[in-house]
Symmetry: C2
Subunit: 310 residues, 2 copies
């Protein structure tokens, strides 16, 4: 069987190998991905983000258990943009998911940043394509933290869920204000803690400030480690992913397609220029460091060679 | 006076306008930036990052006061990659710096993410160029959070300082492991709290795991809101920025130059392709959303038109 057939047949090991090959930039792997794309489009892709300590991993764990009981095969892509140089995702909390590790109906893939951010968005999208083609639905994209990297990644999902907890400090509140603007659904986890009402109240206030025209997100309280509220959260996700309202669903598809295309163009265009420059790159860097040329002029020259050669 | 002359003469309002024009992509502004570049190279550029709640802003505030007493003019670029859509930086802690707001010797510029991450790195570098040319030294780049975005931004400084505090949870410890690898200097702030020794001990352990060949960073305890340890921290910064060891300093200049050039190429190449596509972009996005073409093939076609037209 070809790699393509093995992945489609549900071989997790082949899928893992394919994703590694994609990260390594092997052209054959890209061809397999294109073939697989024709089999995608069934999965609901759900991004989950929120500040450290909000219990995202425990929440995803509870959601896996919930959807497994319904007989669904569940995909999880755990993305850690904060560990760029360590060569592997430092997702200690992933260990908690080990109870699903032997479950053939659950595919968990951890991604750490390899080099630049654009690369991580692309790796995430590649993994979504593979898991979708294999029939996993829903596919969760879980991120560590709440920075721009996470916003970029979660924006490529159909549904963006932002998780928070009672009692976070002001600075985290400020962070939330940014990420709130992309939320389709909000979850106050650890809602058995004191201050849960206050957290929900604060979120409502912040939602009042949203500038966009999207439907106002629901706020669902959960206690992930007891499973409380998980059914309500899943019901909201199902409602948002129901595709009843064709116009709203179409907007979600367009948002995802635009993000994917922009990520791929960004990476492809940059790689093409850097590959074209090759050894000249070091010389240019040295010239800038020695202040023989300013970086703006150096960039213009580098791009001119590449783009204006007609 | 031209914009260039006004900025060089120290006109903060002109500098602010120039930075806005640069963010808006005005070509004239880029020309002014090129002219200003010839006047740069004096400032030590110090990146400061660390998890939310580590007191980075209070620390920068104390450092401003320290360097002002020495008669230095201090620049601060406060970068918030987490507030992409709000149109302005949500840096509540910046309010604390207001005691420097009327001080002509302090230039504070807040940057929120405008669109994509690459844009924020570029805006940060543009602001560094302007502040350096105006004679501010040191120039601090302060970030919110510890994600890949922050790593990218802090890497473009000469000296990367990572701030932490005693008693952070496991998840934040994990985040630190990633960002530790770029640190030139470590600071345990709020060192009057219990657990400060433990925090330093943990950092030492994590430094043992570093894979690179850079000099091992010093760890400086501080209590920013009383000013304790600020002199020791500044002394370490001065030592790292002393340019005594030409080889190490040259490495820092090369690192910064490479990051700058890569950021500019990434953005320039992407913009060039997107501009070339223009109205075709919407059509491509729709075609992907309708599943008439896969995003990988769509990207290849878009890039081929642009790059292989010889």
């Amino acid at each position: 069987m070809s790699s393509y057939e093995q992945v489609l047949a549900g071989n997790m090991r082949s899928a893992g190998r394919l994703l590694r090959d994609l990260d390594d930039g092997l052209p054959d792997a890209r061809d397999v991905l294109k073939q697989l794309y024709a089999h995608t489009g069934q999965a609901r892709i759900i991004g989950i983000t929120g500040p450290p300590g909000s219990g995202k991993s425990t929440l995803v764990d509870a959601l896996i258990a919930f959807y497994r009981k319904l007989g669904k095969r569940v995909g999880v892509i755990a993305v850690d943009p904060s560990s760029p140089f360590s060569g592997g995702a430092i997702l200690g909390d992933r260990i908690r998911m080990n109870r699903h590790a032997t479950d053939e109906g659950v595919f968990i893939r951890s991604l750490a940043s390899r080099g630049h951010l654009g690369g991580l968005s692309r790796s995430t999208n590649d993994a979504v394509t593979v898991l979708d083609a294999m029939g996993y639905d829903p596919v969760f994209i879980e991120t560590v933290g709440v920075g721009q990297a996470e916003v970029d990644i979660v924006e490529s999902a159909h549904i963006a869920v932002v998780v928070t907890v009672p009692g976070l400090g002001d600075e985290v509140q400020a962070i939330k204000a940014g990420i709130l603007e992309i939320a389709d659904l909000l979850c106050v986890n650890k809602a058995d803690r004191s201050g849960a009402d206050r957290a929900e109240h604060d979120l409502q206030l912040m939602l009042d400030l949203r500038s966009d025209q999207l439907p106002r997100p629901a706020i669902v309280p959960t206690v992930a480690n007891t499973g409380k509220g998980i059914d309500a959260l899943a019901a909201e996700m199902d409602r948002l992913g129901a595709r009843d309202d064709e116009e709203i669903w179409n907007d979600r598809l367009l948002r995802r397609a635009r993000r994917q295309l922009e990520d791929l163009i960004r990476q492809g265009a940059t790689e093409a220029v850097l590959m074209h420059l090759k050894d000249d790159m070091d010389a240019l860097v040295s010239a800038i460091a020695r202040r023989e040329v300013d970086p703006y002029t150096a960039t213009e020259r580098a791009l001119a060679v590449m783009l204006d050669r007609e």
